[in-house]
Assembly symmetry: D5
Homo-oligomer: 149 residues x 10
């Protein structure tokens, strides 16, 4: 995290809290998914000029913040190599436990290549369930085949 | 990976290859999802006696392997802390880039807690697309709220 | 530890010290176990509005602190990967020495799965003993069986 | 893990499996807790001559194994610094999340010092519960105060 | 590196040496660049059936090796996190010294996104020079823009 | 990154942004490649007195900054050992996947030695392509043969 | 090192230097060994109220420092995992070179257990010697035998 | 540990065990301290020809082992950076907790320099004590002052 | 690097720059080698009172700095475990590539022991050469033989 | 170290020992410095055909070894990141303590650039001294200036 992000991220989160808006509320206004909006707040994504201005109006942001939201960030939001927060760690554990199985199933379906993490979307849904609600996460990325030359 | 898994995993993969069956084929026979079957092959999951025997018949496994599939494995299929294989690394990158955003969105929807990686399912689908097929991954885990005492 | 926690934790501990109250005293007032109260102070747990207000009155906290106690924290209270403080290190050593034995005994009793660290409680008792008092720690977490799909 | 332990541990586990005995069964025969017996199997504890001989008879062990069980092991049963197995990782997470709170509560009760991990016992119980059984772990170690000189 | 790669890579290199062929020679036969052929030898790329058979004929490979060349490898050819071999380390140093400058220049030209390492080619040329020959490396990867959703 | 670089780099980038100049614009003025100019901004390269003064005039830099640009920096622009920013990580991945193949091909062409990262240039070009533009990176370094003595 | 220790330790060392007293001088006043006094200065030990007040008088400490000396510190005085200071590194080297031999000799004399680092004293003496003075370090800790249960 | 040490160390320990001799017994025969003898067994020290032959006679060693004991070993007997064995870890903890205090006390007595770990001896004594026997460790190393030039 | 060194080192370097003196100039004044003077500036060495005063006069240092130069520093001037600066990294590479060869040659000449890094000098010379000037580094340390006891 | 080097290095050292030749003896025969010969033995350098054949005759090497000595090795002779052997560690310590001073002195003499570790020689001499013999190490590498482009 750059020094800049160090102060900008809490400021954005505080502005959102002062307006008592959720990421879903902001996403509805901007016409974007709530996860993408959250990644904009954590400086992992870049706003267009329109998006930055609209967000500025919704949250009373100053001009410097509106400009900064349009810059291309240096990405990676986690300090330690292996995250200590239990919610985030579970995704690391999923990669540890299901990484090789996922690789084999994707390659059986698509051939030698990867799922893009750039041409990629991510959604979170709440699945109500009498035995306890469930978190449903849907990742969707373009398949990229290894090029030969 | 234990020494045992070191020899058992390639043996299972070779047996499957000799029969020319995909994980989807095996899943259809066992009534299980292909990702779960792949995680059984990588010794990240435990077969019931019925499942182990049925798999043994499908792949001509010996009795020791059929017994070993029913044991509770020591899990974690990746050697290095940060995976070097590009397909698997992308999931690490997704956690780096979208970890904090995901945490906030889940907590806005559910409160303080986590998505279980144990009471959890994982599916891979191929989404055909003229601009390039897409990999769709669906994770679904029970929400667990932090208990107070 | 976030920058925010960096200043909030010592402030909370100082407020408690100024009132000369132990975590057990505070727990008795709040109707909560002292370990849970201590984890609230270290920003590893989330207070309800009632709990935060009551704590605010007991310790003369300002409104911003009372609000912050109700936010969902990013967890993990230890900086280095392997803790250097001797009291905390002993728990790491217990995991090193007794980790695999524990795993086997739990799985013999319950099957393939884990003890939840979320639906979980932790208590500390003093066991008086003429040969030297003993620390008794009781952990109690829901067993979660691996789901198949 | 030494090369010696590398072959001795699976051999012991296989001998136990061949006799279809649980650690609780073996513990009842030896008059020891099942966790201690499991830590003997993982070469984290030392058997007396009597215990080793009795175990040898129960499991048809050869003389070299019976002798080796009486040697003082080099301890530490986990390869990676942070364990990847989900069951064992939860204990690391508990230390991350509750380490500082535990330290404060223990020191409020006992003063400056530690809970011994040597003069120490560890038990696992199954707590039946209609909402899902619970794992109950009880650690009990002598308090050691820091000496001044 | 998997155990399989551990024996297969030296065997392939020995077969090539026995025939006294360079990667450029093999590339000319296969109609592929020498770097791609070398990455096939190090099991970082996948041969088509035709390519594997042709290589088998050129180097007298057995059927198992010909089959293995068509499998999708687990990639990553370097053991230590930071490579110790001086030739390879220089590429790590280039990333350390020129990483941020490269990022800024690429983003000035293309916007927020990355150069693909999958839809990617890599060539090595020798540039003769009286003051000392120069190594010329040309990397060419598709630009992938970050998707919004 | 030294404390000095910590404040100097953002200041240089802000000065450039205020003038709305790209690295290519600045390179054209200085008669230097844009990548070299960017590495000067990130304090990985040293300006001559003329270059520093000219840059100072273009960007309204103060005398201290103009002097500092002529000092020999402590190099290495990335904090974590393995970079988390996806654009930069791809270069690490290229080294992981193609490191050994590159080594072999370079050595087949040149003998035992390395490509210098000091007597070295690096260029970025945009290759327009209807299937998606491509990033072309050209590295060119002097070959240094291992000396015997 | 906590932020608090970060300012308190240099302040204590400066106060001692202003009075031109050695740790041996302070130890003689307090009736404590100089090493223990030094570990109190580095916030690795806890003073009694009497000791803190007496030290406060000797060094003109303020009330807050006198109170802080009586708190139980989070211990561990070295930042990097492997110390870089040559004097301290030698103790790490001694553990590397003589760790296993020490373990065997202690266990031959005492059985399976450890030397306590809590019920423990440490002294430094100067042994004059015409061939060069020698540093003599005497560690003395209670033997703790592994408990069985 | 080299492959050679990997087989030689257990062989030496087994030979000693077959003769039922302690390191103290062997030290008495050789006229050396038991810790030095143990470090010879762990290949951290070099025997003279006389010592190696005498040891060979005492333990029925073959000629290759007798020769190998006279070679200069590559030292360092611990695999992980931070030792997991509790007995050895305590020495790491002592360095963490008392490292800076020790440094200051040694430098107050001797000036800027170090205690040699080469011109160095190490002894273990058992101090009988009704409250529990104590392990006494005496280290004695030549003081080396930093040279100026 | 301590916080103290963090501000003192740049201040010393700035004072030297203001006087436009090289380390060689300062060394000539002090009667010391330029490398030793540079290590004094980086707080890796200790000045005598005379040296500190003389340096204070040459560079207009204040009394606090003159006093601080006479204190025994905590040594180790590099932050990351493996240095990223290319000039310094080359010394790490030399140790990687030539470490074992050096060890064997030194031991063939001297027996089992080490070259002291304390009773040690280090010089840098410029060797003019029409094919390119060469850096000549001469290290000279006392041989220390392993003591037996 | 590759598997190949793993067996080849001890075999070469054993052949040399069987002939009772030092590296200096071999260097005299080959017309090469003893350090270079030692680095050839540790597979850090490449022999010409003549050198390999001559060495083969001197040490009765088989044809495969003679061929292997002419291959370009993957370099880096130390397993752990920070070496544990005390002789080799001292060079790491020298880099830690004198790295930044060396950098400044070299750059004052030569400008911005590095000492090559490729166009580089390394010699070991014994300096007899009544106060204890000294190890003299002379490194000599071409200065490489940073290129601008």
């Amino acid at each position: 995290m750059t020094a800049n992000q160090d102060t900008m991220i809490p400021a954005l989160l505080a502005a959102k809290k002062a307006k008592d808006m959720s990421f879903a509320d902001l996403g509805a206004k901007l016409g974007r998914d709530e996860v993408w909006v959250a990644s904009l707040f954590y400086r992992q994504a870049t706003a267009s000029a329109d998006e930055a201005i609209q967000l500025g109006e919704l949250l009373d942001l100053d001009a410097a913040t509106i400009a900064a939201l349009q810059e291309f960030p240096t990405k990676g939001s986690l300090d330690p190599v292996i995250p200590t927060d239990p919610l985030i760690y579970r995704f690391y554990e999923i990669m540890q436990v299901y990484g090789m199985p996922l690789k084999d199933v994707i390659q059986e379906k698509f051939g030698d290549g990867i799922m893009s993490a750039i041409d990629f979307t991510l959604q979170v849904d709440k699945e109500e369930n009498p035995a306890g609600d469930r978190v449903k996460i849907t990742m969707c990325g373009k398949f990229l085949a290894y090029k030969k030359w």
